[in-house]
């Protein structure tokens, strides 16, 4: 009876040890890192688009600034 118990315990221990000894292969998708030059390029284009649109308005403002403005 004791021998049976020991054998069962041994088998249980063996199974437990086998279950703990696992190997997991995790596949990680390559992380896409957008090139930094795309972000810089957008900023440059936005700056230029704003300058293209507002340049004559800003110039008009500067011209009006040279003549004294009467506050109401």
């Amino acid at each position: 009876m004791a021998k049976l118990a020991i054998a069962l315990l041994g088998a249980a221990f063996f199974l437990f040890a086998a279950a703990c000894n696992t190997r997991h292969a995790v596949e990680v998708e390559p992380v896409e890192i957008k090139p930094i030059h795309i972000t810089i390029d957008v900023n440059v284009r936005v700056e230029k688009a704003l300058e293209d649109f507002f340049s004559d308005i800003d110039e008009a403002e500067e011209e009006s600034g040279k003549s004294p403005t009467k506050a109401e």
Binding site: N43, L50, F54, A60, E61, G65, A71, E72
Partner: protein
């Protein structure tokens, strides 16, 4: 074959009309901006409005003088930022931030501006 040629001509005409309309719309927007310049300049000199960090005018006192002019200016700025954002594949907020930086550079001393942290200060 004839139908195809007519279709191509029609598409070209429509493209021409839409680009003419866009150019005319942009010009009318510019005229409105220029027309409001003197009023906005006075509001800034009286420290009633300042330029916020998003590229828009904002009242900095409880005195909301010429609110209709300020609202019209912001509405038109919003249209411009939106159009540029769409064309350049970015957001209106990004365009507004860039414009705020440009405005800050050319602002007159004494004008109220808002920094990136949201703090209001007077340009020296």
């Amino acid at each position: 074959m004839k139908n195809k040629i007519w279709r191509i001509l029609l598409i070209l005409c429509l493209l021409g009309i839409s680009s003419t309309y866009s150019a005319a719309f942009a010009e009318s927007l510019k005229e409105r901006f220029k027309a409001r310049l003197p009023i906005i300049k006075v509001l800034k000199q009286k420290h009633i409005v300042g330029e916020n960090n998003k590229g828009f005018l904002e009242f900095i006192t409880d005195k909301k003088e010429k609110k209709d002019v300020v609202d019209a200016e912001n509405s038109d700025r919003s249209k411009v930022y939106s159009a540029i954002a769409k064309r350049e594949g970015t957001t209106m907020e990004v365009v507004g931030i860039h414009r705020a930086a440009q405005i800050e550079k050319k602002a007159d001393p004494g004008e109220w501006l808002q920094d990136a942290r949201g703090r209001w200060y007077q340009k020296k």
